[in-house]
């Protein structure tokens, strides 16, 4: 065999590193959409601690674990009792506190770290426009929060769908219940993400950013409390506008009605101001996003 003999004559050393010098890159260079997508995915991974230390995974996955556990418990209870313990929207409402703390950790992870380390000039000296950076981070946070609420809702749906006694029609009805629930989870995600990311983008200190996010959501709650016990009926009905949390609930009550508050209107009364709540929510998100973009027009230039 010629190969064998030649190998015996000239034994080629293995594991030799050749310095082939600098190579120019001739391959494809992707456009703005791809770069945006890469930054978005990177942000989404960051939120859940992928590609980061084990320590960074603890909190996100603790929250994911809790909400999933609650969803499984609700699904199990429902299959036992034969009727839903909580609707999808009610589940989202009940989990909003956990989502708040999740935002308080995730938003600073996304933006404060970059501010602190001074890495932004490295981004902005690349083709990516500044607005793309902010929007990719915002979209990543919205997606992350929506997955956090929507994922467990899906678990509840699967539980209900597999235990339904009405066959396909039961599954279909369940799906019609799930979809508004997912939309409502999306509303939570958009409001929490836009406000949370804006606050976090103001400081490079992650602890301050986290505190700021929690403070804005929690400190506004007493205002709602005060407004809702004022003698004026109108003030009571508009009280929910004062805090992002109650604002979202107000929009939910208006748009989902008995999917959120069955029969009994509960403690929150919005009267006929439903459209006002929706309008304020839209303005809040748009305003926060606009301020976020304005912030990134200035920062690190």
């Amino acid at each position: 065999m010629p190969e064998l003999s030649s190998a015996a004559v000239r034994p080629t050393p293995t594991g030799v590193i050749h310095d082939i010098g600098y190579q120019r890159y001739e391959g494809p260079r992707l456009g703005r959409r791809h770069v945006f997508g890469a930054l978005y995915l990177h942000g989404l991974r960051t939120i859940f601690g992928f590609g980061r230390s084990a320590k960074a995974k603890i909190f996100p996955w603790l929250v994911v674990g809790i909400v999933t556990l609650v969803a499984v418990a609700l699904a199990a209870l429902r299959s036992q009792l034969g009727e839903p313990v909580a609707t999808y929207a009610q589940f989202a409402d009940a989990m909003s506190w956990l989502v708040l703390f999740f935002v308080a950790v995730a938003a600073p992870e996304l933006v404060s770290r970059d501010l602190r380390s001074g890495v932004l000039p490295l981004y902005f000296s690349r083709p990516l426009p500044r607005a793309d950076y902010a929007l990719a981070k915002l979209l990543a946070l919205v997606t992350g929060l929506w997955l956090l609420l929507g994922g467990p809702q899906l678990v509840m749906f699967l539980g209900a769908a597999f235990t339904t006694k009405d066959g396909l029609k039961g599954v279909w009805n369940e799906l019609l219940d799930l979809l508004p629930g997912l939309l409502y989870a999306g509303l939570w995600a958009v409001v929490f993400a836009s406000v949370g990311l804006l606050i976090a983008s103001l400081t490079g200190k992650r602890a301050f950013a986290a505190g700021g996010v929690v403070a804005v959501f929690l400190m506004t709650t007493p205002i709602v409390g005060v407004l809702s016990i004022l003698p004026s009926h109108t003030a009571n009905e508009l009280a929910g506008l004062a805090s992002p949390t109650t604002l979202v609930q107000g929009v939910g009550i208006w748009s989902l009605g008995d999917l959120l508050v069955e029969g009994d209107p509960g403690e929150m009364m919005i009267g006929g101001f439903g459209p006002v709540y929706a309008l304020v929510a839209v303005l809040l998100v748009a305003g926060a996003a606009a301020l976020l973009l304005a912030r990134y027009r200035k920062v690190a230039s």
């Binding site: 260079r29 981004y123 990516l128 230039s301």
Partner: protein, 304 residues
């Protein structure tokens, strides 16, 4: 091709602080040194070249593209190494450079390959998998250089690459920059406030002071034209000067010294011959290689 060209470039901040005044310069590809004291307007110029800030007036083009009109097109072909600390401490160099490669539009696998290549070229091997937070200043500077190289730019803008390095680290960094400019085929603009440092590695020098252009030229044109021989004799300085003038050598007096421009080696012979004929005690004869800094110093004086 003109690498960088500016025409009457002016930048004022808020209408009061002037960072650049009427800067007109055109340089060819190669290694370009941009020198000036702190606050001379070096970083402002770099930011204008990157399209990060818009000039108040005047035109600018980088690689024949106008960064004010098409900043993304310029940035796609330029790599930038900022002066200040800009590395997240908890990421490894490999992760960071890969991510920034993707931000420059490289596909995922290409970004990973180019990142390890770039890190290898700047001299980071196994340590590239460790978090950057534990790196020395020299290693951090190398990572900053690698991230500017990862997307294979045609021009590197390096803002004070030797900042914070010890003398050995400075030499290594300068050697690296020189290698990039000569072997990699990438043009480099090196910004520094230390003239002695950049004049060692660059072909072209741009000196700015107070936002104004002092001089921009090939480094060879700046130094060879001013190499002079200093002649000192213990006595008979006048006679020697007359004799040298008779030999068609343009002699200048500088105190007890006679300064003769060095044309070639025959200048030595002429001077030595003249000294021997006059039988003068020669005290010294040496070549005064003007540092570029002296050129600027004298130029400053003539301006004043």
């Amino acid at each position: 091709m003109t690498l960088i060209a500016t025409q009457s470039l002016t930048k004022t901040y808020g209408g009061r602080v002037t960072a650049l005044t009427d800067l007109t310069v055109a340089v060819e590809p190669g290694i370009i040194g941009l020198v000036g004291a702190n606050g001379a307007g070096k970083s402002t110029l770099i930011k204008i070249l990157l399209g990060l800030i818009a000039p108040t007036s005047g035109q600018v083009s980088v690689l024949d593209i106008d960064p004010t009109a098409e900043p993304a097109a310029v940035r796609a072909r330029v790599g930038y190494m900022p002066e200040h600390d800009c590395l997240p401490p908890d990421l490894s160099a490999a992760e960071l450079v890969t991510h920034l490669g993707r931000m420059s539009g490289l596909p995922r696998t290409a970004a990973r390959e180019r990142a390890s290549e770039a890190l290898r070229h700047v001299g980071l091997y196994e340590e590239r998998y460790r978090p950057v937070g534990g790196y020395s200043t020299g290693m951090k500077q190398r990572v900053k250089l690698a991230q500017a190289l990862v997307h294979d730019p045609d021009l590197l803008l390096l803002d004070e690459p030797t900042n914070g390095l010890d003398p050995a680290g400075r030499d290594a960094m300068l050697a690296l920059v020189h290698r990039i400019g000569t072997e990699f085929g990438i043009s480099v603009l090196v910004c520094s406030h230390l003239l002695g440092e950049v004049e060692r590695i660059c072909d072209t020098l741009i000196a700015i002071d107070g936002g104004r252009l002092l001089r921009a030229d090939h480094i060879s044109a700046m130094t060879t034209a001013t190499d002079v021989l200093a002649v000192e004799v213990s006595e008979g300085t006048e006679e020697l000067a007359a004799r040298l003038a008779a030999l068609d050598l343009p002699v200048a007096r500088d105190g007890r010294l006679l300064l003769v421009p060095l044309a070639d080696d025959s200048t030595y012979d002429l001077i030595l011959g003249a000294v021997a004929e006059l039988d003068l005690p020669l005290h010294r004869l040496d070549q005064r290689r003007h540092r570029v800094s002296e050129l600027f110093a004298t130029r400053e004086l003539t301006h004043a």
